[in-house]
Each structure stands twice: as C-alpha cells, then as structure tokens.
C-alpha cells in the first residue's frame, strides 16, 4: 500500500471467548484485539469458527464465557440492535438482502439506527419525519455514488447478479456510518474483476472514512494483500496472530492449511 495510515488504539478487544452449541465447542478461549482504522482478517479452514466469532461480536450468538470490549464497553452478551446502534455494521456470507425491495430502500434500512422521529409523524410522513427522510436520503445517495451503483438504484435487488448484490449489501452496512465493519467473505463466489472492485472498495472505505474493518476471507492472495494483521483459527482455537508475513511463516498455520491430521480426527 502506497499510503500511510494512522493506526489508533484498540477499538475491539475479544477476551477469552468460548462458545458452545450443546456439546459442540465452536470457539474456545479466543482472544485478540483490533485497533482503530485497521484492516483485520480472520482466516482458517472451514468450520474453524470464523463466522461464529463475527456472530458473537455483533450479538447474534451469545458466548458462554469471556468478554467483548467495544469502544470501552465491556460485556459478554450484547443484543444485535444494541451492537448496531453502537456502530457495528456487517455483511453476510450468504447474502442477506431484502430481496423484494429496491437497492435504494435496502441501503436506506442501513440508516435505521440514525433515524428517530416518532411513529406518529412517520404514519403521516409529515413534518419532522419528512425532513429527516430527506437528510438521510442524501447520505444514502453518497453511498450509492461511492459504490458506483447509480444505475440499479430503483431495481429490486432480488433480480441483480450476485456480485452487485454483494455490493448493495456493503452499501447497506456503509450507510450506517459504522465504526467497525464486519465482512463475512466479501469476495466469495466472485470473478476476478468483481474481486478487484471489492478490494478497491474495502481499501477506499478504510482510507476515506477511517472505518475499522474485520473480515473473513478464503482468498489468501486478497487477505495477505489488504490486511494489516491476521488471526488464524482452527477447530475453534486460535493458532496464530500477527502481520501477514508472520502468519505466513508460522508452522502451525502451514500445518493447518496443508491438512496435517488432528488428534481428534483419528478413531
């Protein structure tokens, strides 16, 4: 990367998180911390617990042990709507858009936490609610501009090709002007050109808005290229944490990726 960015203090600290579904341990004793303005990657083989980790951070899953500290607030369990209000936005591995709604409306939902005019005015769409609607529409138009999706503004997102849907989903997350952006496999299933576009958007978001980004990605080329630091998970445990170069040369990581057998795999 050609430009210099200023990495700040810790914005998100994950401390000793353990999560189990019945008898299945999805995460055990995971700790890492993400600093402000950083691009932080979580990698690992399938089933390593990467998505579970994101789900803990934004409140979908409630870990049994450990704490998560975001912007100085320490707690174990958080509700998704609280997490959103505090400035955490996310995208999903399998796109989760509102498929019957237009691109514009989808991205407008991202403004949900910022709009607060009462239901009475809303029912009439009159007075304060109308003014509010216009202000937020302006922010959304900027996001649409930024992601270069002006042409599909009024299209129902269910009809869009996959790559564009991913972009709309990113737009919805960006519309919330988050402090922390969680991206779950933003490039899965994309062709080379779409991947390059997505990379550029992620770097631009980080650069222009200073948004801290935590992403899960399987494309190692992309991960090593754009992230500042990487944590590696395998079978719910942390294998390594460090800069891309440190991680690349870590023996445990190499073993995990080359498929050295686990003890518990053997009968």
């Amino acid at each position: 990367m050609a430009y210099e960015r200023k990495i700040g203090d810790t914005i998100l600290a994950v401390d000793q998180i353990s999560l189990a579904f019945g008898g299945v341990k999805a995460l055990s004793n995971i700790s890492f911390s993400v600093r402000e303005h950083e691009i932080f990657a979580i990698i690992g083989p399938n089933g390593a617990g990467k998505s579970s980790m994101l789900n803990c951070i934004n409140g979908f899953y409630h870990p049994q042990e450990g704490t998560i500290t975001f912007k100085g607030n320490t707690r174990r369990q958080v509700r998704p709507s609280e997490a959103a209000r505090e400035g955490i936005a996310r995208t999903f591995q399998n796109i989760a858009l509102f498929s019957g709604m237009t691109t514009l409306d989808n991205i407008m939902t991202g403004r949900n936490t910022k709009m607060n005019k009462g239901i009475f005015w809303q029912a009439l769409r009159y007075g304060p609610a109308e003014k509010e609607e216009m202000e937020h529409r302006a922010v959304v138009e900027k996001v649409i501009d930024f992601l270069e999706i002006e042409a599909i503004r009024k299209t129902a997102v269910g009809t869009l090709p996959y790559g564009l849907q991913k972009r709309v989903e990113l737009g919805r997350a960006l519309a919330a002007e988050p402090d922390l952006l969680l991206l779950d496999e933003p490039m899965a299933g994309m062709n080379l050109e779409e991947k390059q576009d997505m990379c550029r958007f992620i770097l631009d978001v980080n650069d222009e808005f200073g948004t801290t980004i935590v992403l899960i990605e399987h494309d190692m080329g992309v991960v090593m290229d754009i992230s500042d630091r990487v944590v590696v998970l395998d079978y719910g445990k942390k294998l390594a944490e460090g800069t891309p170069d440190e991680v690349r040369t870590n023996q445990d990581v190499i073993d995990a990726y080359l498929g050295v057998s686990h003890d518990d795999d053997e009968e």
Binding site: R85, F92, A96, F98, S99, K117, E133
Partner: protein, 307 residues
C-alpha cells in the same frame, strides 16, 4: 339498468367491508411474512371490547356504574388491542423467531381459537347491536333524485377504507418504520444486523393490524351487530387476498371490490339458473381460477427466485 346499477353498488359496498378485513391480513403478512388466521377474530374481539366499554349493559358499566363516551371507548379498545399485540409477541412470536412460515401460521390458528374462546368467556356470545352514532338509513338525495337506494353507512365505510389505504400505503413505502417492517418480513438476520429490533417491530405491526381490526369491527358491528359469525365472514378475506395479492394494500381494496360486485351480480343474474346461493361459494371459485392464472394476485410482489 337502474336495478343493475343498484346491484353493482351494493356489491361494491359489501366489497369495502371485505376489504377492511383483508387489509389487516395484508399488513401482518407484508410486515412479518405471517398469514394471521386470527385477523377475523381480532375484529370480533375489538368489536366486543368496544361494545362493553360504551354500552349500558356492558362490563364496564357493571363495574363502574357508567359507560365510557364513544371516543374514549374507541381509545380504550385501541389500548386493549395494543396489549393483545404485546402479549402475542411476548408469549407466541418471540419463541418462534427464525421458524418456518407454516409453523407461525399454525400458531395463529391456535391464537384464533384461543381469542374466540376468550371473547366468548369475557363478553358473552349474544349478538350485540353496536351503535356509535354512524349515520344509518338510505341516502335520501340519491333516493329522491335518481331513485337509487344506498345506505349512508356504506358510504362512510368506503370513505374510511380509502383514508386507511392512503395512509398505510405511504407509511409502508416512504418511512423508516415502514421500511423496517418490510425488512423484517424479508430477512430476520439482516434486519437485526442493521439495528432493527424484531420485538418492537412485531408489537408495532400487530398493533396496527389490531387498529385495522377495530375499524373493521366497528363497521361490521354497525351494519349487522357484533356476532360470532363475524370471524367466519372474515374467511371471505381469503379469496380477496388471492385476487389482490397478499402483499398489496391497494390490492386488498380492489380484490374486495371485485369479489363484492362479482358475487352480487352472479347471485342476481346467474343465481336463478342454478337454484341460487351462489353468493356463498362464488368468491372461492373465482379465487381458485385466479390462482391458476396469476398466483401472486393482481398487485402482489412478483415472486423472485434466482436459481
């Protein structure tokens, strides 16, 4: 010709009544993907509650020695419907997040029977004439000048339905809460991730449909008294929805009008040839035919599925 016109108009007016009930179904379906089988019972329940607040032989009168004025009775009934909405969220929906739509549907069938029994227990099962001072009788002007017989109450119902539709359509399309409602209907997880609270949204949407049920209950009650057959008449809303589309507020109105006019005209002109009573099944046959041609209804959102 005059007779035909009268038939059509009385069909239109019956249609407005169907539409009012259908609206409640559309609201909940649009906002949470649940087909609320209990909507008709909601209208009945609201009507019964209102009657007991404002009538001299009601519960409220027995307890406190006076009946509420009509406007206060309506507000109190709205309060009751909001409490019902909150209870439905707290006791039923909250435990069924992320379940299949069919499971949610089954739970509303249970809810319908429960509410019907509860209404019977609380308010009794007599037919109750609801009179909140809406105009009744024929509209004299039309009767004198054109010899047309139209009930004033039906004109009022049409006006109320029109206002409701306009307000609801704007609410759904153009406001944050409207968008949040549609978002919840589409994808629970994604809705949560943008900070929409499912619980709040569900209470709001069930309250709004409780309000629509109250309006429907008032209109039906003023017309033919509040009685348990009201929850059966509500089933006529089903063909209305199939015609208009489950997700369309204007569709509920148009569908209701088509059904209303269709069954009246069929009854009068085709009835004699098949021995009458067409009115009872015409709506369902029409809906069946429609399902074959246009399953999403006239105005429903087209079902999009990328494969």
């Amino acid at each position: 010709m005059l007779f035909f016109l009268e038939t059509v108009i009385s069909g239109l007016m019956a249609g407005v009544m169907y539409s009012l009930v259908a609206l409640g179904f559309v609201l909940i379906f649009k906002a949470s993907g649940i087909f609320n089988f209990a909507q008709g019972v909601f209208a009945l329940f609201a009507g019964l509650a209102l009657y007991d607040f404002i009538a001299e032989d009601g519960w409220f009168y027995d307890l406190f020695g006076f009946a509420l004025p009509i406007w206060l009775g309506i507000i109190a009934t709205m309060g009751v419907m909001i409490i019902v909405a909150w209870l439905v969220e707290r006791l039923v929906l909250r435990h069924l997040v992320n379940q299949e739509p069919i499971i949610l549907f089954m739970s509303t069938i249970g809810l319908a029977y429960f509410m019907e029994g509860l209404g019977d227990t609380l308010f009794g099962s007599d037919v109750k004439p609801l009179d909140i001072g809406l105009p009744s009788g024929a509209w004299d002007y039309l009767l004198d000048t054109h010899n047309l017989y139209i009930e004033k109450l039906e004109i009022v119902a049409a006006g109320v339905a029109a206002v409701l539709v306009i307000v609801l359509a704007i609410f759904f399309q153009k406001t944050r809460i409207g968008r949040a409602l549609r978002a919840v209907a589409d994808d629970h997880q994604a809705a949560l991730s943008v900070g929409i609270s499912l619980r709040t949204i569900w209470v709001i949407v069930w309250s709004v449909s409780g309000f629509v049920a109250l309006v429907a209950g008032i209109m039906w009650g003023s017309k033919s008294g509040i009685q348990f057959s009201l929850s059966l008449i509500a089933l006529k809303a089903l063909p209305v929805l199939i015609l208009g589309g489950f997700t369309s507020v204007p569709g509920a109105i148009i569908g209701g009008l088509i059904i209303g006019v269709g069954e009246k005209v069929a009854e009068v002109y085709a009835g004699p040839f098949v021995g009458g009573a067409i009115e009872n099944w015409f709506a369902y046959m029409l809906a069946l035919a429609f399902l074959l041609v246009r399953p999403q209804g006239l105005f429903g959102e087209k079902i999009i599925e990328r494969v």
